[in-house]
Symmetry: C2
Subunit: 365 residues, 2 copies
Amino acid sequence: MSVTLKDVAQAARVSVSTASRALTGTGLTSERTQQRLVRIARELGYRPNPIARGLKTGQSRLVALLVHNLTNASFQVMAEVVQARLKALGYQMLLCIGGDDPQAESDTLTTLVDHRIDGLIVVPTGKNGAQLETLSKDVPIVCLVRRDDATDLETVLADDPQGAYLGTRHLIELGHKRIGLIVGRQDTTSGRERLSGYVRALREAGIARDDALIHAGHYVPETGATCARKLLDLPRPPSAIFVANHEATLGVLRVTAERHIAIPGDLSLLCYEDMPWFEWHRPAISIVDNGARDLANLAVDRLLHRMDAKGNSKGNGSDGVREYRVGARLIQRDSCRRIDATAPARSAKSKPSSSKSSAAKSAKV
Amino acid sequence: MSVTLKDVAQAARVSVSTASRALTGTGLTSERTQQRLVRIARELGYRPNPIARGLKTGQSRLVALLVHNLTNASFQVMAEVVQARLKALGYQMLLCIGGDDPQAESDTLTTLVDHRIDGLIVVPTGKNGAQLETLSKDVPIVCLVRRDDATDLETVLADDPQGAYLGTRHLIELGHKRIGLIVGRQDTTSGRERLSGYVRALREAGIARDDALIHAGHYVPETGATCARKLLDLPRPPSAIFVANHEATLGVLRVTAERHIAIPGDLSLLCYEDMPWFEWHRPAISIVDNGARDLANLAVDRLLHRMDAKGNSKGNGSDGVREYRVGARLIQRDSCRRIDATAPARSAKSKPSSSKSSAAKSAKV
DNA sequence: CTGTTAGCGCTTTCAA
DNA sequence: TTGAAAGCGCTAACAG
């Protein structure tokens, strides 16, 4: 079928080994034969077979990205970034979707290693630490977005404590005192950290924490809807809701629409994580950007670094740092408004998006 | 590092070939050795090396999916479906993102073939027909969503003519006579076909086609916004807009929000292609579902069929059919309303989502 | 039913 | 600087 190294060697009347050396560019051939071989290879349309090469070298030019799904905009961005970066370097991306299921993660992991992937970026479920730890002996691994506490793998995380803090503080600065929080499961890094940032901002502002305002659950629209109802049904409902994830935000928006609650007139809404349509939505949804693009880029950087270090067998490329944080930032759009601290939370229905200008400047980092 | 077939064979005191036969389950070994080998392999934690196997068999257990991006919800769904189906069969998915760029597509294609992928599902740009045609000699290919007219590759398409027809007819049945269309570029299959379906529905209803109501452009929010403005600025603006793609719909929604045009009170909006948040948006956006999930499943079916046929070398598995269509269906939500044919298009602002019940039953297919 | 032998296409000793 | 030869881990004739 295709042109092999042997064909090239024959055409050039040299041995395969010479051909190999010339084409892989080890300076172990004479300048002349080198160039000649390159030319002939091109003429013949020779393309090295990565499989054969891999069998010998143990490499595959394949890098895997394991994420939970493609519904989440952050994961979409990450997949696109990782793909683009790797392609530019001649790697192909194996995209795996684990659905946040430990069993699926475990299975996938072994198959990936079977395929002799050269590197792995994984959003861990947190339940396969031992396996990850073992695999990391063979292949460079970088964890993304979540840490697997059972490992000390290099991990690239969003600065969730800071992001949640910034968001909450922003709402406080706008005059909100009762701020509802819809946050993720507390057995994930991000769930815990976002809660902690929220709590810290309240504490600093001298606002008492009210557990009736805090709800944790899965990152799905249903959770958002359920929690929003609970919050709004409170005797003293919050004047602002901070939703720590974009899927849940969909649920919240539905509830507010159903109940004809104007945003930001009756309720301010702040969301953690961006999503393309938040900008197009009216009112445009203010967010705390988790920096998905930066996270992915950093993860790729770190992975490449480790892959490189492994190749040169100079240490494991860890650089001594185990955890990287990518800063979150507040992006103000139109879903939060300044309220008069003395007025009741639920004012008259109306006063549409005009809060933009009145909003405080971005909190300093 | 890992356990090889040789290790298993030695442990079992048989030759590697026997071990191979036993483990690959060709009925060419005695029941006893077969089971013994399987047991020993398991005990040793043997995992076959796909690279080595691939070198011999020419297969890789890798299937590639080449799409334009991951921003589009249809592509997200397709990627998830393809990934899930393939994983269940022991294949890994190589996800490539071509950005609808012919050069990128071409490059990717060659790399994929280098990697000896076992199959390819591709959303073609339409500019690399010759290359695709050539590659299809070596590897089973199924085109998805778009046809590459320069080839006669098996192609799985949405039934865009029908979908656009259904959508348009639905609007007509609701009493709309001036229906704006924001459609895709006319050099793509879907762009042309969606326009044709629209035109056919108008013709059947005896409504004259008005080119001022038809705008074609890229599938991006900006296009939607620009076209929406043009449509709404018309001396006689449309009473309904049919947006032939979800990205463009974002742009349209922004414009209507900016101008305080109530949907569906002042304007009915129908969108081609679903997106998770359309359902959560208020008013929930009515759509023509292109059946992304079905498309992906069918593409996988066809690909597997061809891969299978190729393996058994019984023909090319084409079954004589070159083109498959997956039916589109209308999903009514709350963004279209019945209008009084005699009333002016722009009525008083208000009358929010209550058109659901009054909407006509789904057009029959 | 099983073992022996020969590669798949490439890299990499080891000699020359 | 080059060639010959070995071998990565596996499968598949071909004998026995």
